[in-house]
């Protein structure tokens, strides 16, 4: 597809910073506004921008749809896994106090970090998947149309 030069250059400049900002929001969520939900959406927005400017195929060669689908489940599993881990350690489901045997507050820090990571992975993967599905449908419909016109 033909694209304009200025959006292409600007996107190339912006995307690394969008992804970096996503990571910042992810891991700085304990200290300022932010957290897994926002970080996931921002990270996905960076990928979606890439797909909009450079085409769906280019984006899918960077982040394959199968990988994203797996990540969708992985994030949820990380979250639930923390809960199971705390149960294994003899506490309640998602009781982070037990994650550090010396200091419950450190356990809380660790627990929040890990589950926020799980949230971020799932949300980013779901947003990218939804976008891939919509954009992929557009390509599919166009291909089918071209086929039916040709026949």
């Amino acid at each position: 597809m033909i694209h304009h030069l200025i959006p292409r250059v600007l996107a190339k400049l912006l995307i690394p910073f969008i992804l970096l900002f996503g990571l910042y929001v992810q891991f700085h969520g304990d200290f300022g506004p932010g957290g897994g939900f926002q970080a996931g959406v921002i990270f996905a927005a960076g990928i979606i921008l890439y797909a909009l400017i450079y085409g769906l195929q280019a984006a899918q060669s960077v982040i394959p749809a199968r990988l994203v689908a797996a990540l969708m489940a992985l994030g949820l599993l990380i979250y639930a896994g923390v809960g199971v881990a705390t149960m294994m350690l003899g506490g309640n489901f998602l009781d982070y106090d037990l994650l550090d045997s010396h200091d419950p507050v450190h356990g809380q820090h660790l627990g929040i970090l890990v589950i926020e990571f799980g949230v971020g992975v799932t949300v980013a993967a779901v947003m990218i998947t939804i976008f891939y599905q919509f954009a992929g449908r557009l390509h599919l419909v166009r291909d089918l149309e071209a086929e039916s016109d040709g026949s």
Binding site: F31, F37, V41, Q108, V123, Q133, L138
Partner: protein
């Protein structure tokens, strides 16, 4: 003069204008863009009401991803204009006005916006605000409540997001059985022959 309140009123008035614009416009492209503006204004209101985390999410989700998805849908459904109905429907107008009036009447029993001694401020919130530095020790109380005090709740929300992703994959991932441009009717004979 309380500037916070003044800005609040102006932003809410703008929100109302945008919502009326969405009702009146028939061009779907304009409606979708106005919905994005609506979300952005809502994010500003949230910032003013001290909900910075919520404003952040609303700006990223409502004005960003949601608009992209709606535009993608418009590209797929290939129609830009809403059909003008043949006659004006009174029942929805009556019902929505009645609902709004009932709500305003009911909400007048609520404590005023921003009063520190409202019941909502006295129940569990003081516990979260006091105990977060002791029990969790992260500066952002919203994160502490979200991830720790109400971690089970958030797990459920993540599961809902996951399910929605799977749902969209199920709906849009399959190849349409028969595809033809324009209006297509299901053909009973062909369908029965299949079964």
């Amino acid at each position: 003069m309380n500037w916070e309140a003044l800005i609040d009123i102006m932003l809410l008035a703008l929100l109302l204008l945008v919502a009326i614009g969405i009702v009146r416009l028939r061009n779907l492209f304009a409606v979708v863009l106005l919905a994005g503006i609506y979300s952005l204004l809502m994010a500003l209101v949230f910032t003013l009401l001290d909900a910075v985390d919520v404003a952040f999410t609303e700006a990223a989700v409502g004005a960003g991803v949601s608009t992209i998805l709606s535009l993608g849908t418009l590209a797929l459904i290939d129609s830009q204009r809403e059909k003008i109905p043949s006659r004006f429907a009174f029942t929805p107008l009556l019902l929505s006005v009645a609902t709004g009036a009932l709500l305003i009447w009911g909400l007048s029993g609520m404590p005023e916006v921003g009063s520190p001694d409202a019941p909502a401020q006295l129940h569990v919130a003081p516990y979260y605000i006091e105990m977060t530095p002791v029990e969790i020790d992260v500066p952002n109380i919203v994160t502490a409540v979200l991830a720790s005090y109400r971690g089970f709740d958030t797990l459920g929300e993540v599961a809902v997001v996951f399910t929605a992703g799977v749902g969209v994959m199920a709906l849009l991932g399959s190849i349409p059985a028969v595809y033809s441009r324009g209006r297509r009717r299901r053909q009973p004979d062909a369908e029965r022959a299949d079964t």
